[in-house]
């Protein structure tokens, strides 16, 4: 019997009318960062639709991953294009709260 470990990290993108949802699965760390960055580089340019990151299946993140979210936030802000992060698991949310990125992701930041 062959035992295969689940993929450490993968993205699944779903395009609907006016909305592009990216499902982020697994561990977003230094190893998977380049894959995430490459995918995001293309998607931030799609200013005609909402960019949504769904984190329901994200098991792990550290400052490398949070740094990518900061870059996406800033790029979308500069283009005046909507960016939403949804379904944040509690352990991930704790790190977002600690670093102070939460208000920017949930649209409650003051500026």
């Amino acid at each position: 019997m062959v035992m295969k470990a689940p993929d450490k990290f993968y993205l699944r993108t779903e395009n609907q009318e006016g909305r592009c949802t990216v499902y982020v699965n697994g561990e977003l760390d230094l190893e998977s960062a380049s894959q995430m960055r490459a995918a995001m580089a293309t998607l931030v340019e799609l200013t005609d639709r909402e960019l949504v990151l769904n984190l329901r299946e994200l098991r792990y993140i550290d400052s490398t991953g949070i740094g990518i979210l900061v870059s996406v936030l800033k790029a979308r802000h500069a283009k005046e294009a909507p960016f939403i992060v949804e379904a944040i698991p509690p352990n991930i949310r704790k790190l977002f709260d600690m670093t102070g990125i939460t208000p920017f992701l949930t649209g409650t930041a003051t500026s």
């Binding site: 450490k8 561990e27 760390d29 230094l30 190893e31 960062a33 792990y60 550290d62 400052s63 490398t64 949070i66 740094g67 990518i68 900061v70 870059s71 936030l73 800033k74 802000h77 352990n91 790190l95 600690m98 670093t99 102070g100 990125i101 920017f104 930041a109 003051t110 500026s111």
Partner: protein, 159 residues
């Protein structure tokens, strides 16, 4: 009772794909010591941040015009778990040359109270290490050494 510290040391190549191996080792050790799931999650992130820095700076950020001297061996990262009766200390040590981690530690900052145009990712790793562990010390010299400690608070076991 034997109060002598027990030490587990692992060496991994200074490469991104080995950081999760450090996390796995930590998980095993911290579980056996009786840390809670949440405490282990905190330590996993803190340890990864230290390892990330070690990997990123392993080859040195050489200034322009500096001569590159081939390393005698592949850069690697040393991770030492020091099990104490009431705490776990983790030491992450690399031989990178030019990263001033002590100066970086003083710049460690979060995004609280900033505007979207002012926020940046720099300094977050060290900020998280300090926020997630009870104590963090950064020593720069020949390479960088980070020592971080999490105290064990076993609930309901006070006799």
């Amino acid at each position: 009772m034997n109060t002598k510290d027990e030490v587990v040391t692992i060496f991994v190549p200074a490469a991104a794909e080995y950081v999760d191996l450090a996390r796995l080792a930590l998980y095993g050790i911290a579980c056996k010591m009786g840390f809670s799931y949440e405490e282990i999650e905190d330590m996993k992130v803190a340890l990864s941040e230290a390892c990330n820095n070690a990997v990123l700076h392993a080859y040195g950020d050489l200034p322009d015009g500096a001569s590159v001297i081939a390393a005698a061996q592949e850069p690697r990262v040393e991770i030492r778990f020091i099990k104490q009766a009431d705490a776990l200390s983790i030491v992450v040590k690399d031989d990178g040359t030019s990263f001033d981690a002590a100066a970086a530690a003083r710049r460690a900052e979060s995004m609280h109270g900033k505007s979207i145009t002012d926020i940046e990712a720099g300094g977050l790793g060290l900020y998280l290490m300090q926020a997630l562990m009870d104590q963090v010390e950064v020593l720069s010299g020949e390479g960088t050494q980070v020592m971080m400690t999490k105290r064990l608070t076993k609930s309901g076991e006070w006799a």
